[in-house]
Amino acid sequence: MKTRTTIFKMLALLIGTAAVFSSCKPKGPADVAMGDAASKVYVAPGKYDEFYNIVSGGFNGQIAVYGIPSGRLFKILPVFSVFPESGYGYSEETKPMLNTSHGFVPWDDLHHIALSTTKGEHDGRWIFANGNNTPRVARVSFKSFRTEEILEIPNSGGNHSSPFITENTEYLVAGTRFSIPMDNKDVPISSYKENFKGSISFVKIDPVNGHMNIAFQLRTPGFNYDLSRAGKGPSHGWFFFSCYNTEQAYTLLEVNASQKDKDFIMAVNWKKAEEYIAQGKGKTEKVRYAHNTYDDKTHSATSKMENEVLVLDVSEFPDIVYFIPCAKSPHGCDVDPTGEYIVGSGKLAAMMPVFSFTKIQNAIANKDYEGDFNGIPVIKYEAALHGEVKKPGLGPLHTEFDEKGNAYTSMFVSSEIVKWNVKTLEILDRVPTYYSIGHLSVPGGPTAKPHGKYVIAYNKITKDRYLPTGPELSQSAQLYDISGDKMRLLLDFPTVGEPHYAEAIPASMITPTSTKIYKIEENEHQYAAKGEAQAKVERKGNEIHVYMTAIRSHLTPDNIEGVRLGDEVFFHVTNLEQDWDVPHGFAIKGAANAEILIMPGETQTLKWKPLTTGVVPFYCTDFCSALHQEMSGYIRISPAGSNTPLKFSTGKIEGQP
């Protein structure tokens, strides 16, 4: 009896010890109680979302358009990447859009979005985007949601701090991510300090039609330029850039570019630079860069090679650029809605400095400098500082603002959004994100007049948020309600590509002017067939041009003969429809490029080179009507040198008149 008791006691002790230890284990991420979140993101069938969310696609080179608060995906809008779905970059009309000084580059890494503003507020006219890889900027029309212009940036090693815009969309900026030796010079990599330079391009935007042109470039010290924001209100006329690798390392930057306690925020007085340019102080440099524009009357793009750029070396003009020390490797460099405060987010730092524009101006006036870097004055940290946000979280990246004087900063390492007051620098709230947030977006967040209401987190890690789909997952975004004191998680939604920056704009600013059709009367395409009477087939040497029309539910001509092996066939398809949402598609067997979609009133061209003789079908790819399956035709390919006569028809039956 005694023996048994003792054994039981031992067992009890063992189990007790185990229980105590187990209770020390922390719990995994808890389920987030959301209350009435469902009703806050529910947009009833047939109803519209409140905001358009214009989201960069990262390495897919596209922009995606979502509705907020529903998180529904409305459109994938190709910018720097070919898009076989619509034929963008494949049709003869759109190929020139992707031309560069390196030839046809069908891909890019699209990081940032800037929506056009007037007086610092959204005006709903254009979307600007950057190509980080082969340096480019693009302009997309808010009317047609189509890419209308792409401008290559010369003297750039990768266009990251771009396409941020000034208060009235006077300029768009394009700062090089990597410094490089200018003029494609062949130098040792180890001569970085001596030969490598930074380059910041100021692209002038035509206020009427949005056309972009490089007004001038600033030649700056050789290090990395990360992100930027223009001043607004009192700081209008200035631009702020975050800089890292002020160590000027050229290898293992992970370590070697993280050594200094402080890098720089670069403040640029662009009005001053403008004055110098007006005085003719800019030096003309020979360069080569492509400038591509799309015309929605000819429905065609043209690519022009430009060969000059005006350059101001800031070391020769000491009152254009000033450096402000900023905690380790700043990433985000965000200006608050009043234009007074500039938030530097040192992604490796344990606090966030907030600078005051007024103090910066005073420091410049009083020459309150701690020294210089390559001859450029470095303002004393304390002289420019409004204050530091203490212990905000780990890995601060980007900051957006609401209409109530609050800031929202994304924390990559601690995977959270931290809300704080811009004036008092007091931390007000924090919410977790799932997982490892990169950029974030408050509707109107970068403007002088934020719309507020929500903050959207664009996360870098998805893991278990959705049904698993193999090793490669979609990216995860979260929508939070910020209308109250506490941020509340409302919704998870998957995103395509890898979103970086995004902006959101009220739908009411966009929907009234959205293009529904292209007027067939205004179609100025060289090969348009404006009516079936103009449909025809022409031979020009070994080129066959088919002027084809499409209307529910037939293509004209739909019987084509007399094409010979060795010919190149151009199908110029005009959609005769004039009603909203009646696109037609065109595809032919064996096409080595893509299909094309043709919007009502538009003409698009698919080039096709037959490789064998025979009769090849073609058809409409976009289900257009009850008789869509009938919307098809045949082209006959005869051997090279044969004398099959060139002829074409629709509805004609051989032997009948």
């Binding site: 020390c24 922390p26 995994g28 993280s258």
Partner: protein, 193 residues
């Protein structure tokens, strides 16, 4: 020279044999959670090896200047197998010799080894958490990253837990059995008087 009761001899053998599992099961575990690691990261210490997400943990820790965790960091692995072997052999011998002082020595040895292991682990943890690379990308002033000895601790964005794994629990069971046997023996002695 008191002889042992038959039950005590069985319990001692049980205690010694249980420790054989130490060669086949993980002894200690360190678990880590972060917001972006909802499934957690897991590191297990075996009698002569470290297993689990060691590479991921090392890759993360290098940002804050912590060294890569490698088997060669632990000279203990060279002789741990012999110490445990000796303990098992001593247990079996104690049962065979059938003397009470052998039981007491066996129990004392187990407790001493356990304490030594904890001290050793603490010293390693202190060195690992404090001896940081001064050129690390992220340096948080005043921050060190010593893992918890036993229990839970918040280290930057990670919640770390340290505690016995299954093999460790069996070792604890062995120890409790040995201690219990001592208690059992001495209680019997007093009852007789």
């Amino acid at each position: 020279m008191k002889k042992l009761k038959p039950l005590s001899r069985i319990l001692i053998i049980l205690s010694a044999v249980l420790m054989v599992s130490g060669y086949f099961l993980p002894l200690w575990q360190i678990l880590m959670w972060a917001p972006q690691y909802p499934e957690g990261l897991d590191m297990q210490i075996w009698i002569n090896d470290i297993k689990g997400d060691v590479k991921i943990i090392s890759a993360l820790n290098h940002y804050i200047g912590m060294r890569h965790i490698e088997v060669s960091m632990f000279p203990e692995f060279q002789y741990m197998i012999y110490i445990v072997g000796f303990l098992i052999a001593f247990g079996l011998l104690a049962s065979l010799v059938n003397r009470r002082f052998m039981l007491v020595t066996f129990t004392t040895l187990i407790i001493a080894c356990a304490l030594a292991a904890l001290v050793d682990f603490y010293l390693w943890g202190y060195d690992y958490g404090h001896n940081l690379d001064p050129t690390a990308p992220i340096i948080v002033p005043g921050m060190s990253y010593q893992p918890p000895l036993i229990g839970t601790k918040q280290l930057l964005n990670f919640t770390a837990f340290s505690g016995p794994d299954i093999g460790g629990w069996i070792f604890i069971a062995s120890g409790i059995l040995a201690i219990g046997t001592v208690v059992f023996e001495f209680k019997r002695f007093h009852n007789k008087i």
